[in-house]
């Protein structure tokens, strides 16, 4: 079980956002993908989740090709994506947002069990099931978005900047949750983050992107220790 990314390129018109990137992710790992604004992190993630289908190269999850596959099909193959910003539908209730993630399942009793175990984890959401998602705080929305993705019982979870616009304390909580989910559910997670230090602290592996290429890759500890990475991305 692994994700094999081989020579993936992404173009936006004449601009090359990602330039022939290759790397591997082992199952059960939490990988933090960091880099400055415009490094191509989101472009790569959107290519992996089928939102951008103009990518070149190959990215296989357990042998299944992710590139050029529609996101709604990827979900059925165990790949879920939480897109940038607060990826919930504000017009729907919390309950509906959650259920949305498992609509495609034929076996709704399975979905019911997943929902129950998620709600045990997140009592705050359980209390607010009938409220519209609009009324949630930023942190709660992000939790809801992650839970919605978890409702599909993914093996590979792609998270795009879950910390965006949240207070540091909440960010730490969310990253702890992600760490927790990875370990207890046996998930594989790619976490794209601007917030490099916090992300690396909870991650197993780290990938540093710069101008569409991999600038550094290795265990999260080794990246935190690397003076060049520290200077360029961690700010000290």
């Amino acid at each position: 079980m692994s994700l094999e990314v081989r020579e993936v390129s992404v173009h936006h018109g004449p601009i090359r956002a990602i330039n022939k990137i290759s790397f591997d992710v082992q199952a059960g790992e939490l990988v933090a993908m960091i880099g400055s604004n415009g490094a191509g992190k989101t472009s790569l993630l959107r290519a992996l989740s089928g939102l951008n289908r103009s990518a070149e190269g190959s990215a296989r999850w357990n042998g299944f090709e992710l590139l050029h596959t529609k996101p709604e099909i990827l979900v059925r193959h165990g790949v879920s994506h939480v897109s940038e910003g607060k990826s919930v539908i504000p017009e729907l209730t919390v309950e509906d947002n959650l259920n949305l993630g498992a609509l495609w399942r034929r076996d709704q009793s399975q979905a019911h069990r997943t929902r129950q175990s998620l709600l045990d984890h997140f009592p705050r959401l359980a209390e607010r099931m009938k409220q519209s998602a609009d009324t949630l705080s930023g942190g709660e929305r992000q939790m809801l978005a992650i839970c919605r993705a978890m409702m599909s019982q993914p093996e590979l979870l792609l998270l795009d900047e879950p910390s965006l616009g949240l207070a540091p304390l909440i960010v730490a909580q969310i990253f702890e949750t992600i760490r927790d989910l990875t370990t207890t559910m046996g998930l594989t997670v790619i976490l794209v983050e601007q917030n490099a230090m916090s992300a690396l602290k909870v991650a197993d592996q780290g990938i540093v992107l710069n101008l569409g290429s991999i600038a550094a890759i290795g265990s999260a500890q080794s990246l935190i220790a690397d003076p060049k990475v520290r200077a360029a991305y961690l700010g000290y």
Binding site: S49, L51, K70, P71, E72, V75, R76, S80, H81, V82, S83, S87, V88, I89, P90, E91, L92, D96, N99, L100, G101, A102, L103, W104, Q108, R148, A149, M151, S152
Partner: protein, 302 residues
């Protein structure tokens, strides 16, 4: 006093029909961001199909059901073949913003002309399935007949069925999610393309019901260049706009409100003012309350 009550009856009956058309327009708008001007043509075609079934089975109710099935099929076909091609081919360029409008209008013309070619432009008539003679209360004949009762009940039944479908079922949840945020719905595994086609199909069925109910309650005459269907489209659109174009409940309220206003103008002022009133109402709503009577506070430029 009786005149007042009669006016309310007339308003509610015609309002119920406008509501059905408004529902059809809202469903398509929510799923595709297109105001489907071909809806009048689709309703006309479905009503003709219903007419054929009446000739064959001599049952209005069976024909109504079959016309709605046909309407759903037409809606699904139009979306999956026509609209999908359109969006693939005309994604950019100076005309991209208006192409869907032009295309649905072209479709309206195409359906009408083809229908005229196939069946001719002379009227056929759909007779009311039940009596259209008003109920009598202590010597006064009301403008409310068994037929009107049936129309209103059919419309209310359809609205309740639709609201259950939308609020209580998984299909309804996919429809709502795809309407509000297609991208998030897709990421959650909803096949948005199919859901959109389903939205068009339901709209086709609602439009067919509007056509089938309108015809016998009016003159009973049906022809490919019928002005009644153009007016049905225009009044349905106005009702949908009054309701905010996003909301099904708004569409129903908008339809009833429009029906009542027009009925009062008809009874107490003049028949010649009906259309002008509707048009002025549309302009006023657009200028004063563009988000509709129950609309959420959202811009109208999207």
């Amino acid at each position: 006093m009786y005149q007042f009550i009669n006016t309310i009856f007339i308003g509610i009956t015609s309002g119920a029909i406008y509501s059905l058309m408004a529902i059809a327009l809202v469903l398509v708008w929510r799923s595709t961001r297109v105001v489907n001007f071909a809806q009048a043509g689709m309703a006309l075609l479905s009503t003709y199909i219903g007419y054929e079934f009446i000739q064959r089975f001599h049952s209005f109710w069976l024909a109504l059901f079959l016309a709605m099935v046909a309407g759903a099929g037409i809606g699904a076909l139009v979306d999956s073949i026509f609209m999908r091609t359109l969006f693939r081919r005309v994604a950019h360029g100076p005309i991209a913003g208006v192409a869907p409008i032009i295309a649905t209008l072209g479709l309206l013309g195409l359906i009408r002309a083809s229908l005229g070619l196939a069946v001719g432009n002379s009227d056929v008539s759909i007779r009311p399935p039940v009596s259209n003679v008003g109920y009598t209360i202590s010597g006064h004949t009301l403008a409310f007949s068994p037929l009107k009762l049936v129309i209103v009940s059919a419309a209310v039944f359809l609205m309740i069925a639709l609201s259950i479908l939308f609020s209580k079922t998984n299909i309804g949840l996919s429809l709502r999610a795809s309407a509000f945020s297609p991208e998030i719905a897709r990421l959650a595994g909803v096949r948005v393309d199919r859901v959109r086609t389903l939205g068009w199909a339901i709209a086709g069925a609602a439009g067919a019901a509007a056509g089938m109910l309108q015809t016998p309650s009016g003159t009973g005459a049906l022809s490919p260049d019928s002005l009644d269907f153009s007016l049905l489209l225009v009044f349905g659109f106005i009702a949908a706009v009054i309701g905010g174009l996003e909301s099904l409940i708004g569409a129903v309220l908008g339809g009833v409100l429009l029906g009542l206003v027009l009925a009062f103008v008809l009874t107490y002022m003049s028949g010649s003012l009906v259309f002008i009133t509707a048009f002025v109402l549309l302009i006023i709503v657009l200028l004063v309350r563009p988000q509709g009577i129950i609309g959420m506070n959202r811009g109208r430029r999207a």
